[in-house]
């Protein structure tokens, strides 16, 4: 028996492997595995953990309502560790080893760009929940956050309506702010606005006195802020202590949501505008249920924000597509997804068949003294996603794609 046992187990392993690599994962069991891949450690954990929590809530709710196709969803949670190669590696693991039906994950554009070739190679599905710089539409990614024409351009429309003609651009030094500012400059040129300055600081930068001095000297009507992470805290504290207020120097931000306001200090940022598609205060029946459920699960002091809501929606949209397709098989789900329309906390969202982004309503909000954000302007109806800005004459030459 000395020899046959290893051979037996080897054969068993092979048999299991053969079983597992079958086209229909988990078809035999009454469970469907889905992957959640966010940074649970490192510098991005601050933001991504909340998105994972929102996705887990959606999975819970769907399971309580009977699951999908009569099967329970089982989340497989992995940590991207704020490290882009790790995202690619963990995505491969979720697809190849765990054989998940789909993956919800990512936050930074760098993590998405790292995962994209993995999902395209294995023909697996990724749902990406954060607003980003556009100029991308992978056939294996669904984008549930805003693209530029659903956040940045409405933000500029708002500033234009408010009569702000001279802008100063402040951003962190990486792909999103630089791409966003290219779009802003093209918009300004076409709309008679003037860009007085454009400044970038490294991620994690905390010394803003020189930059604040430059902004104050330039005397713009408004600042367009694409800073990311902790830098926002230093920037707003130092801007405030230089004597600027929301009235004298409005700063429109696209990366500050309810979560970030506490860390910056409400005193330093109250009255400043932000651009998103969703706020905790957004007045829809679905949002009331979402906020109540989230607080019940994670604590009454927790807040909900745009990326969290986009992650929460992603799970529901995928589940809807699976129901429509009658299977979790990727190509069938992709085929079923276009046109799916759901009433979500942010209002009605619809999956666009052409670029797999969502129709979303743009909302401008103002930060309140209690730390929540009150909507002051919205686009009225969901805006068709246009990641390459084909529908904007002034943007020709920008959207060259990849």
């Amino acid at each position: 028996m000395r020899i046959s046992r290893p051979i037996l187990s080897a054969a068993l392993v092979l048999a299991l492997a053969a079983c597992g690599s079958g086209a229909k994962p988990a078809a035999e069991s009454n469970e469907i595995k889905v992957g959640l891949l966010h940074s649970l450690s490192g510098t991005m954990a601050i933001s991504e953990v909340t998105v994972r929590d929102a996705e887990l809530l959606a999975i819970d709710e769907i399971n309580k309502a009977g699951g999908v196709l009569g099967k329970k969803l089982v989340p497989v949670v992995e940590d991207g560790a704020s490290d882009w190669p790790t995202f690619a590696e963990k995505a491969t693991k979720l697809i190849r080893q765990d054989k998940v039906a789909t993956v919800f994950g990512g936050w930074t554009s760098a993590s998405r760009k790292a995962m994209l070739p993995v999902f395209e190679r294995y023909k697996a599905l990724l749902w990406y929940p954060v607003q980003y710089e556009g100029l991308e539409s992978s056939p294996y990614i669904f984008y549930t956050g805003a693209t530029t024409n659903q956040q940045i351009i409405p933000g500029l429309d708002y500033l234009k309506e408010e009569g702000k003609k001279k802008l100063f651009l402040v951003g962190s030094d990486y792909v999103f702010p630089r791409t966003a500012n290219k779009i802003i400059k093209a918009y300004a040129a076409a709309n008679g606005m003037e860009i007085l300055g454009e400044e970038y600081t490294p991620l994690g930068h905390t010394e803003y006195s020189t930059l604040v001095n430059k902004v104050m000297q330039a005397k713009p009507d408004a600042v367009f802020n694409t800073l990311n992470g902790d830098s926002n805290v230093a920037f707003f504290k130092q801007l405030k202590s230089a004597g600027a207020s929301a009235e004298t120097m409005p700063v429109l931000s696209v990366s500050i949501a309810e979560e970030e306001v506490t860390g910056i200090g409400v005193d330093n940022i109250a009255g400043q505008p932000v651009a998103w598609n969703y706020y905790q205060t957004t007045d829809t029946p679905a949002n009331e249920a979402f906020v109540t459920a989230y607080k019940a699960k994670y604590g009454q002091d927790k807040v909900t924000s745009d990326p969290m809501e986009a992650g929460y929606n992603a799970v529901y949209l995928w589940a809807e597509a699976v129901k429509k397709a009658g299977t979790t098989e990727v190509e069938a789900v992709k085929k079923a997804a276009p046109g799916i329309s759901l009433d979500r906390p942010e209002g009605k969202v619809t999956i666009d068949g052409e670029n797999q982004h969502l129709y979303k309503t743009a909302r401008i909000g103002v930060i309140q003294p209690d730390g929540l954000i009150k909507e002051v302007w919205n686009s009225g109806e969901p805006i068709k996603p246009d990641p390459y800005l084909k529908g904007y004459a002034w943007a020709s030459g920008l959207g060259t794609g990849q």
Binding site: T206, T210, L211, K214, S241, G263
Partner: protein, 282 residues
Amino acid sequence: MSAFVNQLPIGLSIGAVLLLIALGLTFTFGQMGVINMAHGEFIMAGAYTAFLLQNFVLALPAAFLVAGVMGLILERAAIRHFYGRPLDTLLLTWGVSLVLQQLARDLFGAPNVQVPAPSWLSGGVGILPYNRLFIMALAIAGVVAVWLYLNRTGLGRRTQAVVQNRRLAATSGIDTGRVDMLTFFIGSGLAGVAGVALTLIGPVGPTLGTYYIVDAFLVVVAGGLGQLRGAVLAAIGLGLLNSYAEFWSDASLAKVIVFAVLIAFLQIRPQGLFALRSRVLT
């Protein structure tokens, strides 16, 4: 033009921040030669002390004690066993710094927290807000206190004696272990005080220390080890260089310029470079 003039006080205030974060390092790194990568986390501990107390003024002495005791524990429990092994100390304290960051994340959560600034620090004169002036005053007070301690107190003189010649100091009856302990306590405590001051201008989160640690080492290395005067001049010089480099270019390029100038400077005057003048404590 006025923007150009404005950069002078801004440069000085950046220098004051640099000096404040480096002051503690002039003790632990400068006097004892210990490369303490967890120095940034003592700054963080100071900032969180201010958050817990929600009282800025009270936090200054409290943070000195909290960070000082943390430093004391680190020195007694670990670093003490690694004297004379700078590379091992570097790895050890780097590990400690990661542990402390994760600890802060578990205790206080990953998002940044807010420390209310005292109302008498809002407002300012000219380009400089009161909170910047306060940091400058605190840095000056810190330098004076350190100078007085080293030159006018018995403990301070004993510290200097140990630094200059450990064996001779020991044979003269100085308890070198106790001096090491005290030096580490003061150095770490000063980091805590810096942490409280930084809540006025920057984020308060688990990774706070990582934003300042490199700058702190730059100041001490550029100034020359164990040289209080050197640290003061280096901090002011680096602050002004930073301020004008960023004014004429941008923040990313300013960092490059500062490093390039520093490397060139250390080529000409390598006395500050620790590799050439490591004080191996035996």
